[in-house]
Symmetry: D2
Subunit: 337 residues, 4 copies
């Protein structure tokens, strides 16, 4: 930590801050500048929130951490990229993993049709929501357990492993019984009770970045799962909230190379939620692969105009097939498959 | 809903969209402009997400709702302002309700000292966290049930009702057994499972706006609690995330008059989290009262520089007492107490 | 500056960075931590952008300035608050300065009616735009020089000094010939050519914060005017751009106490542009005064529904008179007038 | 425009609004819904700001435009993509145009070395700033006219056309005398006086999106140039300001397909400013090409660690050469060159 003192700080203030730093187990190191005294608190400051409390002293101007606050998620701790393997599908390997399917599981027919078609087009994981986080209490809330059973049936029919969302700690076991990958949605990225529970469940976790989650906070949420004993975390960029309204969210592809530098975890990108419009899914999917994403999450619905959720951003199966075809050369161009 | 068609839309497209609108139970009303055809879908569109799916049709440019999507939270449905009464304390009445106390319950001594001092200064509700949502898994996570018991003890000692956070559905009953008001934190504002559970528990709910939650989404989260059968919802503005970094968040006081216009629910403001710096708490508390807030949520810690969480934004008890004194004339100036 | 090296930095890297710091005229001070080496560059780093270039070295992780980059605008350099006096009107004194009038000067009648009414209600400065920055080239662009003459006439008629916008360096002289205060609009806050020119013109400058301008950048723009020889700068908060759309911009009142702490310059607030809706002007004007603003900028139009610009946010004269009446007790409550 | 009335609007209110709509030259079309009356104002509403003033009527809830407000920039008016040709270099054609060079022209040696090396690596336009918009008045402000002459010399030496920034209306002629493309910087995107002047100068204009400029506003700024008689506008996405701080700005690649859909103008992307870190330039450059950009703007400096501006985001010439090599297969993969 770097503690910057105010310009009027006295020698007694400096001594007091140094004493407090030592009391918290760090070694103070004072630099007296022309206009400011700066004290470095030497020692591992990751997660050491307590030093930040020094900012409440009247003589302190600011307290700034030096180290990234996460450990297990960091590339410094583990230089080589990690992979998550689900039923033979490798996420984080040379091959781009494409997870596709409807936003919500709406019916047996809808799901099976979508599953068969995304499989035929080359998807390697089936996505579909049984428990749905909906902004309005009056909107369709998902088929819940019935939806999970349909997903299991679709897996049987197609061989595709399943990724689906879990929304509360008490449902983790139930969802894990049917799904191969547990998705933590953007609105739950800092639902720490839920993160702790999925850390214990043994299943790989697809963790979506929240719409106002900084990269640093996002990796700390991943750290909750990793430090809870579950090494199989897949990060997912799905759009952040900005002033721009021509897209539903602003898909932040910059986060892909940033997180690749900071972390060893595999990263997938969701251009469907990120843009909110089916017409932008293909260009942004290509861009995601070009800048280093390990996979994609894409919404496909047999009849988007009748979808119970997220119709505007869903691709028809034929468009998805075209997207898969046009993705291939881009993947090859950046050394992927 | 207003459905705007693309400029190349044909008569057959118009007919198709109208047919779909009717199939969803609305009455289409077509306006042919010089450059665009616009179709109004007449009928109650609150929560009618399905109409939005029409945006996935190739002939449709955009689908825009006309009505605010919430009902029970809306002032249209209930023109007079509502109040929440807790143990004789009225939130939403003429008197500004001040909820004060430490961020985290850290020890018996710390809590009781804080409680006695905020009571002496004029606070009417005691705040304090037993379950703490922390960005880092390595940070202090709260005293949990032990903290709840200390809060109950502080209530006994001071007579102040308690507001404290609940973080997961399964803990609602436990927290409700000790607390008078259940707080839903900013990170859980769209934790719909939790919202449904607190709707059933009978206790008043203090609902904090998320850092990227629009006013409309916020009122929809309130609607989850209201439509679940719990009319006692207190809205809390606590800062949104913007590009500005000189404050920890950007306290959005505009939301106070906006929500007062849209909703009948009482609104409190948290300038401690909203700014993240103790020096800004007093001016922003005054501003909150001046623009119409019904109450304040303020962090007070006997020794902020040793706080286990949020030290930089906590007031010392003496400063809090000064703040209370200087708030009074502002409250009177806007016809409050 | 604090230069943080990457974890793999070698002793040779440390020596190289130190050598470069010295070559730039600073004194390096190395702190070797457990996980990182940190080098403090001691010396006045205000405006010393060159040190930041060290971030391009492969061994450097980040370069962080310690000092605020402005000098003349800073309260450290000048602890007492400064005032700007225009024709006997003091901005930054005990009395709240209210600058009111129409967004655009549209006609002689409109302006004179507005001027007389805002004067009667207690405004001390008349605002009105002759040169209008309009998002669309097809929108009304202002009466230009004709508008300036009408403003001068209104001053004669009412005795109110005039504040009006100047948009380009070459018009500074012309506008200064008619106006008492030159306004730099939000879109020109980083139009450095214009800032340099108004620095030379002798007239007080009302500098509006841009919609994406950080407080630090804003004070650096003020520094352009101050360092160019013009000490009469009035800062104006007028709303920043965030994700929230229920207001046109997000009026950032937090910036008032933040800038009061960092700078000695007077600060006025524009709740008309900040919210974009007349219904929110009164509560936010009160809040601005409550949190320490020295003045207000308020749009008043005799017939807002016919305004050529910014009608939705303009008050009718009667409402403005009511606002002035209700502001007084708030001003008194915070020790102002 | 769609005018939504408040729920309490009377028949007289409806009649009054309709009368006003007619007076403004539009045809009103009333839809009476269950909860709201909505009035469509039929007619070309592009740039018709006046209708918006109706929002100030007490009976009106909101006024929403239906059409995009720009005309000449829109793809509706000109369905085929336009190109800008400079000295034989086509921007907007099959070949990706790469504009590269130093942020600032610092010296003859620096510029010529950079120019020769970017040319050797395959760049087709040379960039370099002579007039520099700097946040701090104490930072290097550019070599000004001397810099322009060096740029002209570099063009002679390499044959590369020049793009350089112009910051004020009065310098347009001077800059146009030396440069092939005039750049309008992000901070001047709504400097309408400058836009009007470059519209008249005959040179192609590279218009950078501001850090808080919506796509719609950006295209309106382009419209200023187009409607002023200059059809040669190149749009440039260079990062917007969001809450995320791990990159200097958030490069908004979504804007590429969005603007491709809305407008026929060519689009280039600046990953150097967009991310602010040289390590992220290559992945984001690839992503930009993959999602449809027509060109790139990349900062290259022989010795970034000694740069007088923007060192952290500048590539060394060797890295730039590698980038050019790795870009080629991505361009081919999306049917470009």
């Amino acid at each position: 930590m770097i503690i910057v003192l105010k310009s009027h700080a006295t020698d007694a203030d400096v001594a007091d801050v140094c004493r407090r730093i030592e009391a918290m187990g760090h070694r103070p190191h004072t630099i007296r500048g022309e206009l400011r005294t700066v004290i470095g608190a030497v020692g591992d400051d990751r997660g050491k929130e307590r030093l930040r409390a020094l900012e409440s002293l009247e003589c302190v101007e600011s307290v700034t951490p030096i180290l990234q606050p996460f450990k297990l998620a960091s590339r410094e701790v583990r230089p080589e990229s990690s992979t998550v393997v689900v039923d033979g599908v490798v996420i984080g390997g040379a091959r781009i993993a494409v997870m596709a399917g409807p936003c919500s599981v709406e019916s047996r027919e809808q799901l099976l049709e979508a599953a068969r078609k995304v499989k035929a087009a080359g998807a390697t994981v089936l996505r579909g929501g049984a428990f749905k986080p909906r902004t309005s209490p009056y909107a369709f809330q998902g088929l819940e357990e019935e939806g999970l059973k349909l997903l299991a049936e679709a897996r049987k029919a197609t061989g595709l492993p399943i990724v689906t969302e879990v929304m509360e700690p008490d449902k983790v076991e139930l969802v894990a019984a049917h799904a191969d990958i547990l998705q933590i949605g953007a609105r739950n990225v800092q639902n720490f009770s839920l993160l702790k529970r999925v850390a214990e469940c043994g299943r790989p976790v697809l963790l979506k970045r929240g719409m106002a989650t900084s990269v640093q906070e996002f990796l700390l949420s991943a750290e909750y799962v990793l430090s809870g004993g579950n090494p199989n975390v897949i990060l997912c960029e799905r759009g952040i909230r900005t002033f721009e309204t021509s897209t539903r969210f602003t898909l932040d592809l910059n986060a892909v190379p940033v997180m690749k530098r900071l972390s060893h975890l595999p990263i997938v990108v969701d251009p469907s939620h990120g843009t909110g419009h089916w017409e932008y899914v293909e260009p942004m999917a290509k861009a995601a692969v070009a800048c280093g994403a390990d996979g994609l999450l894409i919404e496909v619905h047999p009849r988007p105009e009748e979808a119970l959720s997220d119709g505007p951003q869903s691709l028809k199966p034929e468009r998805f097939a075209l997207l898969m075809k046009s993705l291939r050369p881009v993947a090859l161009a950046v050394g992927r498959d």
